[in-house]
Structures are given as C-alpha cells and as structure tokens.
C-alpha cells in the first residue's frame, strides 16, 4: 500500500491491520515514535494524521492510506513543531526522554489547532504518561507556548 509520511510517499508491504507504529518503526526504520504499551494507554506512540494526534500503536495502517502522517522525525519542518522543540529544550523537559516524542507530538497538535489554548484545553490535550514525572516541566513549556505569562496552575 502507499503511505504518505512526512511529506514523502512510501510503498509498504504490510497487512492492513498492522498497527501504524510497527510500519513506521520496523518497515520504514523511523524509531523516534515509541512503543510503550500497545494499548493506547501511554501515548508514547503519538503521531499526527492529517494534523490530529493519534496513537499509532492501535491505528491500523490501512486507515491512514490517503492521509498525511507526520512523525517526530519531521517535527522541525513544521513551524509550530519547531517552536515546541525549542521550548522543550529551553524548559529542559526530558529526563529519560522515552515518552517525549509523543509529548512533543501532542503539544504540536494542540497548538496547531488552538494556538492559544486555555489551561483547561492544555490539561485535556496533554494526557500522555511520563514515568520520570516531567509533567510540571511539560505543563510549563506548553503554557509558555500558549503565551501564558506566569506558570499555570497545577
């Protein structure tokens, strides 16, 4: 089947029900998108499909044919994504870093849809798990990106 990923076209030979995650990682060799749970619980596998964040570990690859997939590998070719990455670095968000691809994708999707999200919108969008507990740094980074002057409420 033919996939559009990061504005390139790929021909892949995969079963229709293979999760997008494993096509990206194993067939296409892009390992920035992470496997954490395989059950849409943690969000480490978050990618954008037509600009919406989806959990690729439970998204059948056939479902994204004809759509535009964006992974963390292309995050800096997007203006919003580039700002998110820069802010992530500025706030020194990452610890082990394993969940951060998904966190950056979730923040990018939020800000592309809603450039100035409210605190409630941020809380509703930033729900990926982080075992290192970088939640407050993520929170501060997204509020910074949203143009909130002070640190938001926890």
């Amino acid at each position: 089947m033919e996939l559009r990923i990061n504005q390139k076209t790929y021909q892949v030979d995969a079963d229709a029900d293979t999760p997008l995650l494993w096509v990206i990682r194993d067939d296409l060799g892009m390992t920035g998108t992470k496997y954490g749970c395989g059950l849409a619980q943690c969000g480490a596998c978050s990618v954008l499909v037509d600009g919406n964040v989806v959990r690729s570990c439970v998204t059948p690859v056939a479902g994204v044919v004809g759509r535009e997939v964006t992974t963390i590998e292309a995050i800096e070719s997007d203006e919003v994504g580039k700002r998110v990455v820069a802010t992530w670095v500025e706030h020194q968000v990452a610890q082990c870093g394993y969940c951060q691809s998904g966190q950056v994708m979730a923040a990018t999707a939020l800000l592309k849809h809603t450039p100035q999200p409210s605190a409630a919108e941020i809380d509703a969008a930033m729900i990926n798990l982080c075992r290192c507990g970088t939640y407050n740094a993520i929170h501060a980074a997204v509020h910074d990106l949203a143009g909130h002057s002070a640190k938001g409420d926890a």
Partner: protein, 749 residues
Amino acid sequence: MNAPLDAIEQLIGQNLNDPVNLSRRRFLKGSAVGALVLGFGLPLGATRVQAAAAAPAERGTQVPAFLEIRPDNTVRLLSPFIEGGQGTFTAMAQIVGEELDADPATFLVECAPPGDAYYVMENGMRITGGSMSVRMSYPTMRRLGALARAMLLQAGAQALNVPVSELTTEPGKVVHAASGRSIAYGELSERAMDLPVPDPASVQLRDPSRFRWIGKPVKRLDAYDKSTGKALYSIDLKVDGMLHAAVQHAPRLGMTVGSLRNEEQVKAMKGVHSVHRLPGAVAVVAERWWHAKRAVEAVQVDWLEAAADSTVRAMPADFSTEEYFKRLAAEKGPARDDENEGDVAAALANAKTRIEATYHNQYLHHAQLEPPSALARFDANGSLEIWLPNQAPEMYRADIAKRTGLDPSQITLHSPLLGGFFGRHFLYDSANPYPQAIALAKAVGRPVKLIWSREEEFLRDVLRPVAAVNFRGALDNDGWPVAIEAVSATEGPTESLAGKQGDKIDPTALEGLAGKSYAIANKRIAQIYVKGPMPLGYWRSVGNSLNDFFYEAFLDELADKGGKDPFELRLHLLRDNKRLTTLLNAVGDLSGGWKRGPFTAEDGSKRARGVAMASPFGTQTAVIAEVSIEQGQVKVHDIWQAIDPGSIVNPAIVEAQVAGAVSLGLSQVLVEEAVYIDGKPRARNYDLYPILPPSRMARVHVRIVESGEKMGGIGEPPLPAVAPAVANAVAALTGQRIRSMPLSRYTFT
C-alpha cells in the same frame, strides 16, 4: 540502596569488583557514530585480574580510556555510568569539563564498555544505582579532567616549544600568554593522548570558588535529541540481517513448556521464521516484530507445573497479595534486631500511654516506559555482541559468560540509553530478555532483537518489596515519645536476589525504619525474614520507599496521641541535630510557614498539610504536602521539598529529579499497586495498573540546602518522604489514619 552492594556481594556470592583487564588503549580512529554503534567494539584484554579493584589512587587515571578530543574540539567522554534520565551524562561532562577546562556543552557522552578503567567509585565498584554515581566518583572524575588538562599542557609545550610553566588554558585551548599564541585542544589531542599520564598526585584541582560549570544549572546534553526522537534506546537498534522475536511467558514463573498444540499453524502464519521452546517461555522469530508478537500470542501452550528442582522462584497457583499481607502482619518471628537502643521493653511496660499500629504496603512495578529488549549477534568465530539496557556492564557480561560458556573477552556489550531507570535494569535472573535473545540468535544463526511486549514485561518484572510492620510506641507524661519499636515482616530485595537471608540484615529491607535521626531514647528496629513467592527488585529509593512511609506516618500517630503538633514534635526530637533542624525549618519556610489545618483554601476547598522527613542515600529531605478531597479521592495540590545533599553539581537537574521523584512518590501513595490473584497478576498493562497521570500531579517547590556535609545522592532521595507527608495530610484533613498504600483503595469524605 544506602549500602546494599556489600550485602549483595555477600549474599549472591558474586564479586562485583571483578574487573577484566583492559589494557590502556586509545579510541579507535574515526570510530563510527552511526545509529548502531553505541560502544566501540574494541577487543578487550582477555586477562582477568585479581578481584581487587585498582587502589583508590589509581582509579580514574587511564585518561585515554575515557577521553577523545576530536579535531573539531568536541570532547567525547566514555562515562562509567549509564544515563537513564537522571542527568549523569551531563553531570560527568560538568565535572570533567571543569577541570579539563572545556565547556560541558562541547561534550558527547556515552556509556563506557566493560573494563577495569571504569571502576571509579570510592567503594571500588561499577554500577549505576543507589544514587551513587556523582557522590562516589566526584573527586576521581575531577582529577581525571585535571590529568587530561595536564597532558594537553604538556603537548602544548612541545608544540609551541616553550616551557610548560609558561602555558595556561582557556576553555578548549592551551594559551601562551607571552607570545599571544594558542592551540585548540583538538589539535593537541593526538599528541597529548600519547603522553604518559602524569602522577595523579601532581595535579591541582580547581578552587571551588572559581567553578564555571560545577554548581551551575548547565543545560542537559541530551535535551535536544530527546525532544526530537533522535535519542536511541535498546529497543530502537537494528543490525544487518536482524530478525525480530517475541515471547509468551508461562503464566506463573517456574512453569515450563509442555506441548504446543498448534505449532504447525503458528509456523505457517505470515512472516514467521521459527518457533522456539525456551525455559518458561515460547518464542517466535519473524521478519517483523508485529508478526512475531501476533504469532507467539497465538501459540496454545500446555504449561507444566514447576518441577521440584526448579531453579527459579516458582509462583504458587494459590498466591494472593491480599492473603499475603494478612500473613505478614501475623508473623510472630523470630526477629533479628537491626537497631536496639535503651530498653524498649521496659519503656513500653512503664509508660502510661502506649500505641500500637500495623502498617503494610503494596507491590509495585517499575513500569518504565521502554519495554525490555535485547539485541544479540554472534559472529562467525562464535563471539557475541549484545546491546541491552543495563546498569552494570561488567556484571552483565560476567553473567552472559557464565550462561554461554564464552570468555568475557568474546563478549562485546553495549549499554544504550535507558528509557526509564527506577531500578529495573539490575541483574534479575528471570526478569531480563537477554538470555532469551542470546539463545534465539544462536538457534537461528542470525542477529535477533527480542522485545518483551508490555504484557510480558508486567508478567516478569520483579516487584518492589512489601512489608507488614508492627509498631509499638510509648509516650512520657508530657506526651513526648520515649520508645518506638518497629518489627517488619519482610524480605528485602537483596535477600530475594540471594534467595536466602544473609549473616547480616539486608540493609535494603529496613532502611527508612533504621537510620532515623529522631532522639527517642528507647528504640528497636527488627526484621522477621519471610521468604515470599514474589521475585523482588530494587525500586527507586528501595527500602526507603516503603519504610519511611511507615515510620513517618506512625510518628504522626505518636504526635497526635501526645497532643503534639507533628512539625513541632519533629523539631523537638531533632533539637540537637543542627542539620535536620535547619532542613525542617527550610521546608516550613518554603511552604510559607508551617500550618497543619484543616483550613479553607481560596477556592473554598477544605485542605490540610502533612510533614515527613527521610535520610536516604546520604541525603536529607523534608517534605510538606497539601491535600484536599475531590470526589472521594485525595487531591495533592502542592509538595514543598527541602533537600540537603551536602553539595551539588547541577541545581537544575537536582530540581528536575526532585519533581520526578515526587511524581513517583505520589504515584505509589495515590494510585499504584500490583495485585496478584491465583498466582497471576491482575494487570498486565497500564489500563489496570494505573501510574500517576498528569492530572494527579502536584505543584512542586524545591529548596536546595547545601550544608557542606559529605555529598549525598540525588536520583532517589526526594522520593521517600512524599508518601508519608501525603498520608499525614490526609489524616489531618479527614481524621482517618490510613496505614497502607495506595490511598485509592479508600473513599474519603
């Protein structure tokens, strides 16, 4: 792990100081930095040397084994410690860079391969754990940087043909002020690294008042790569010709593979290369991991009960955590004393007021986000190359040598970044995929990467230990505590690894009950060793993670019984301890002044605060928590933490570690528990095993107190006081004293 390693060594009979001689050697020229080359694959010297590590004066002096300065002036440092989020790579660059006179931002840091050069800690060991890396290697790593600088100065003297005494350095270059000339380190490195390493005693370390990077909030070296998906973990690696593997483990540890009822059908499934029987598991090897996973889950296995001579800890079919907690609480002994001061029995007998209470805690998963994996490749002559998450390269290599019969010199071991640490990457016999990956690579004659699915990980993870502690306390006529007794029915993680009780008490079993600083004249801390069916492991802050919860909560019970405010009670019991008095006052001050409540917050909610302290890993901590009740559950609004690690290297990383440890501390006290029913885990993924979500995180306020005392740890110490501070706040707010975790088991009003 305050001091567990000696105990581990004693118990498991493996010499942890067992370096393999690595002849002094240089980095390979032009060694590739490609995605797959994480170490250097250097042929390591085969000669095993005596167990004793190099004498302290010799540690960390083999400069060329650690440092490569490239022509572009970037500094490549092979770290004795592995990065798992705690920031040790950045700290090492700060420490070495400070003395080398090179900006840490110019460093590329990777984990060093196995080798005796990397035994740099003052206890003579090499392991990343116990919050030991910085505090146990600080002077040695500084000296390493200074030795390298001396070699660069010497090389500069040769290159400029001037006496070395006329030279100095500026970041990244040797400077001859008299002539206005300078040479970049990158140009001198080749010549410098061929020079003999100077006498370690000959170099002078920088005066701390002139530090540029140590003690400063230097940016993490890995922040960008980890924000863009470029950081590579074991699970991401790939080599030519590699196959993928997945496993299905026995539902209970110890069971073995009987017949496979549908082996032929599985072999015929798409993408399947082969089906394998392994000890306690079935594996499928395939061209794609997804195919391997789907196929192995389809295998219908007749599992056989564990044989009587099973070498693993067989899980009984009737094991239930609820029943086990009851059994622990009812254990009568015999007990062994760890601390026994004064006359507890007499103090209890004579006291007018006595209190008794029983506490217990829950099993926990490590639940690091990166599922375990291992990539194994044999070459034509039978040597093995392996990539795997680990926190002790030499120990892993020794274990692999034992399992395979290979000489350690035939094993090249790579230590990629860890996708979460938390104690998961120690050498746990039944809980690591590398023995399976090695067996599969051998069987199929091709490289194999094995990934455990989340479900298989939760089935085989070793768990944080549990204990039931029976406390007794006595108050004097003024209501102050005069006696405390804690008898813990438990098995420590080190005892679990050993499968037996050692001659001495396992410090990882009782730390946090033992080692308290409160001036209570009569105290007894004892353990009833109970060997349980669950394989146990180290979990961030280890014994402190449960024991400080017990002790600090019971201390509040004593305060309440005696009519004392818990903050005032602690101040009273620490009145002769200047360091902890300062720390406790610091957290009170940070929180705007101690107030217990209940009080009404600005938003109208009724709230209260709790306080707790802990002394883990050479560091002192004090925590205040503010809570309310929302829809029957505990909402933690704020955590204030004062932490005194003596002195620090990076305040930004310290604050990040405090925030992270608070998160894990909240997770254990609020929501987490691994429940077993009929010998099987109730949860095998995050759906039924919740970990703290962002919505349950609290604001975290940190004050770092540098007392100047001996340097303590950072990664684990901020965790243990969190849970009891929350439980104490809940008691103040609701009047309910909860003596177990997690609090999600209760509904509050």
